[in-house]
């Protein structure tokens, strides 16, 4: 196994050269003639919208996928990466966007999964322990080898992934969106580790959506869009504005919520909502807020901080373990649970976070999807039968109204693009004329044109008096649409900001769990220090 080169001795050739890489999945051209060069010993960032092909590209580099065409060179030598094993042999370690760990194995078992060469584990165990000690010493990365992985916090699980990647040889380390699941604190610690690794001569390829991170830790940055590599910059020579525009391919002029509006009467009041999961972990703690007619309340937070649980409770999908909420005169609590159908009858519509799994039944025709959750719309004179014609007609009108293409109700949902699928889901919920609309990640994986359309529709719906609760991990989306912003962290509401006082920095602090105006001020100083 190759030892990482020592600090300072930088290889003359680029550590990684990808030339003309293409990869197609079925109908999707995930990578289209992509070329990339990464300097040895540098931290190289890759950015791009959802679905731009970033993960695909690095998965090719780690041998997980095989490119349809193109050449790969490592330190000047052309290599063939027929499997992950080849990449590992060549010293490429990868931390995947979704962890590649066996959750109910111990840390050391997970590490041995890759390293064990001898038939029996006793020998391998000794070897891994000594390598682990070495890595701890060299890079400052330590973890209890006997712990079962699923009992570790996410940050530590990620550290196990990094250690695994380093065990592979540690010449090149690839991290695919490593911070998406981390708390700001954990993120900071990750970046500290990366600095050490870099100092030790490891070449690092970092994928992230967060321009702040790109600016903070990378030396170079490449931008992907729709499967192509569209630009490469020295980080020092660029700024966030330029990168953002490169990413989406044009100047970003999004609709924003300019008109400050007087809030209407309260339509949904939540008090003390809490949810403890089967494992006894508190997912949501004591959440209270009021939603008024004609306002959009944005819920900001890093994924996994209770927003999804909140949406599910309000939609009737989960029952709160404590607390209650009231809507349209009905109070829902553990003692008086409501199911999604009951919530819909109360005028609560719900655009789920995961449209492919929840919001749609992919093999169903669009017409059938257009009545999902609203079967009454499909009943005819004989209420025990569904009327296909009614269903199609309804779907057709939704499709026309929301510009869903192709506008054919008979086609299966699976054949539509993400943006069009999402438009149908929003059209369906919109069409119910709701008093409250719960929206989760309305524009995830949706292209910019559709984003604009969806945003406009949400604002129009609000103007018509609907109360909208918007959950999104996209800070920009929250800022653009919200009349008020609720910051969530660790299942709690950390603070609430009015549209006027909400800016990136303040909302970012809320997401980091730092709430209250005084605290914000203190936190801001701390961060800038």
């Amino acid at each position: 196994m190759t030892e990482p080169s020592t600090a300072g001795a930088v290889h003359p050739d680029p550590a990684i050269e990808l030339i003309g890489i293409s990869k197609r999945f079925g109908q999707v051209q995930a990578n289209d003639d992509v070329s990339l060069s990464v300097r040895a010993g540098a931290v190289h960032g890759i950015i791009g919208e959802n679905g731009a092909g970033k993960s695909t590209l690095v998965s090719i580099l780690s041998g997980h996928y095989q490119a349809d065409s193109g050449t790969i060179r490592l330190f000047g030598e052309e290599v063939k990466l027929a499997s992950s094993a080849d990449a590992i042999r060549l010293g490429i370690g990868m931390v995947h966007q979704h962890f590649m760990l066996v959750p109910n194995f111990t840390v050391i078992e997970n590490l041995m999964l890759m390293t064990a060469k001898a038939p029996f584990l006793t020998a391998s165990r000794k070897e891994v322990l000594s390598r682990l000690a070495e890595i701890g010493e060299k890079y400052g990365l330590t973890v209890d080898p006997q712990r079962v992985v699923e009992t570790l916090p996410v940050g530590l699980q990620q550290r196990v992934e990094i250690i695994k990647a380093l065990l592979a040889g540690g010449r090149i380390l690839i991290l695919d969106e490593p911070t998406g699941v981390l708390t700001p604190d954990e993120t900071d610690r990750l970046f500290e580790s990366l600095a050490v690794l870099k100092a030790r001569g490891v070449t690092i390829l970092l994928i992230t959506h967060k321009l702040r991170e790109i600016m903070a830790v990378t030396d170079d940055v490449s931008v992907m869009r729709r499967g192509r590599m569209v630009a490469g910059r020295r980080t020092a020579d660029t700024d966030r504005q330029e990168l953002a525009e490169l990413m989406v391919g044009r100047t970003v002029t999004m609709v924003t919520n300019e008109t400050a509006r007087p809030a209407g009467p309260p339509v949904l009041t939540a008090s003390g909502l809490s949810l403890t999961d089967a494992a006894g972990v508190a997912r949501l703690s004591d959440v209270s807020f009021t939603l008024h007619a004609g306002e959009i309340v944005g819920v900001a937070g890093v994924a996994g901080n209770g927003q999804s649980e909140l949406l599910n409770i309000l939609a009737g999908l989960d029952v709160p373990t404590a607390g209650q909420f009231t809507v349209a005169g009905r109070t829902v609590s553990a003692a008086a649970p409501a199911d999604p159908r009951a919530m819909r009858r109360l005028g609560v519509a719900h655009v789920p976070e995961d449209r492919r799994r929840e919001g749609l039944v992919l093999p169903f025709a669009m017409s059938e999807n257009s009545v999902l959750g609203y079967l009454d719309e499909a009943r005819g004179r004989r209420p025990w039968l569904l009327e296909t014609r009614r269903m199609r007609a309804r779907c057709q009108s939704l499709m026309d109204r929301f510009d869903v293409r192709p506008a054919n109700p008979r086609l299966a949902a699976s054949g539509f693009s993400g943006g069009n699928q999402q438009k149908l889901v929003i059209a369906r919920e919109h069409g119910a004329g709701p008093a409250v609309l719960l929206v989760g990640q309305p524009t995830r994986g949706v292209d910019i044109g559709a984003i604009e359309f969806i945003h406009r529709e949400l604002l129009a719906l609000r103007d018509a008096g609907c109360a909208i609760l918007l959950v999104s991990v996209e800070l920009d989306e929250i800022l653009a649409l919200s009349d008020r912003v609720i910051g969530m962290n660790g299942g709690r509401i950390v603070g609430t900001l009015a549209a006027a006082e909400a800016d990136r920095r303040r909302v970012g602090l809320l997401m980091a769990g730092i709430g209250g105006t005084a605290e914000i001020a203190a936190g801001a100083q701390e961060l800038s220090a």
Binding site: R24, Q27, P340, R357, V361, P363, F364, R379, L386
Partner: protein, 368 residues
């Protein structure tokens, strides 16, 4: 990779090819044994359609398979795998007898028959209730529980047929006969009553019930809100939950309907043909339902067609035993296993090659 297949190919060509493959392999086995597969096939076809009464037998078997096939299919649509058709049918038989043994001395046949049919459905459904309930509430896999329930049903039936229900003074594990007017009339009896020549066979009017059941299942699955929810659950449980489908009760309801359909097989076999409850009368037909449902792509029309095929195979297969000393009807079991393998487990083996065959023009220019 290539795009999806045209619908007609998916619905028609693929099942036919899969069945053809099964026949091919089975033919190979016959050849290996040293017999001519075509000659054997001919014996089976003649045995299924040509001899007097053989068509009646073929349709009688097919009727059984329609019920058990529909039972499997309904559960399939909710992505539940009900392997318990065998046990549910057996208990359905008990349902028929529960009604007939208690009521046929007192009530006229016209009243007993509908009650007995109801009994078959109720008992069959009840036997599927617990596996469904355990799946819905405790997550016990319905596949394993239904297998266990098959064994338990067989045990209960043996106990009853050798004990409390045995016809007095008899050794064979079976009940007394149902009063003649309380049985479902056979087709040859009716034909003879109308003055036609008809060789006797167990084919009886339950076949009409089977046809009605097939149509009913079609309406239920594709035309009712219940069916919509059931299919939603089958395609995506998260979507079903999102849409407000009460998942646990849906699972239970689906299993009960599935079990009731399997139980109805007893109306054909017990109330129509044997006119008494015989041990082991289900004879593996519950398992055949799996092959039928897979081959018929869980659609009532497909199931009716597949049932006819299997009816012919079962009837024709018996003829093998008469015609050959080296072959017997177990050849049909081999064929059945192969059909499940090819049209079920290996269903998508041919998708790739076929879609290339069907859609050469739809292929996108791929990067060199």
């Amino acid at each position: 990779m290539s795009g999806p297949l045209p619908r007609w190919a998916d619905v028609l060509v693929i099942p036919l090819i899969n069945v053809a493959l099964a026949f091919l392999v089975a033919g190979g086995v016959v050849a290996l044994i040293g017999e001519n597969p075509l000659a054997a096939l001919r014996v089976m076809i003649e045995g299924a359609f040509v001899y007097p009464g053989s068509l009646g037998y073929t349709l009688y078997y097919a009727t059984n398979f329609v019920f058990t096939g529909l039972a499997v299919a309904v559960a399939f649509h909710a992505r539940l795998f009900n392997i318990g058709g065998e046990g549910q049918a057996a208990i359905g038989g008990l349902g028929v007898m529960a009604v007939c043994l208690t009521l046929d001395p007192y009530l006229p046949g016209v009243l007993v028959i509908p009650l007995a049919i109801l009994g078959a459905a109720l008992f069959g459904g009840a036997w599927a209730f617990l596996p469904g309930f355990l799946q819905a509430t405790r997550g016990s896999h319905v596949v394993i529980t239904t297998i266990m329930f098959n064994f338990i049903a067989a045990g209960i039936l043996v106990w009853l047929l050798t004990g409390p229900l045995i016809r007095p003074g008899q050794s064979t594990p079976q009940t007394r006969n149902i009063a003649p007017d309380a049985t479902i009339p056979t087709v040859h009896e009716i034909a003879r009553a109308l003055g036609f020549e008809a060789s006797s066979s167990p084919l009886n009017l339950s076949i009409l019930l089977a046809a009605a059941a097939a149509f009913g299942v079609w309406v239920l699955i594709w035309r009712t809100p219940f069916g919509f929810r059931l299919r939603t659950l089958g395609e995506s449980e998260p979507a079903a939950r999102y849409a407000g489908v009460p998942v646990p009760s849906m699972v239970v309801a689906t299993m009960v309907i599935s079990g009731a359909l399997a139980g109805l097989m007893a109306t054909n076999a017990v109330l129509g043909a044997q006119e008494k409850l015989v041990n082991n009368f289900t004879a593996g037909f519950g398992f055949t339902g799996i092959a039928v449902a897979l081959m018929g792509r869980a659609h009532p029309v497909g199931i009716v067609m597949a049932s006819l095929l299997f009816g012919a195979l079962y009837q024709g297969g018996t003829e093998l035993s008469f015609a050959y000393s080296t072959l017997d009807r177990n050849m049909v079991l081999v064929l059945q296993g192969l059909i499940i393998l090819f049209s079920g487990a290996l269903a998508h083996m041919l998708d790739g090659p076929l879609s290339r065959l069907f859609a050469p023009r739809r292929r996108l220019p791929s990067t060199p």
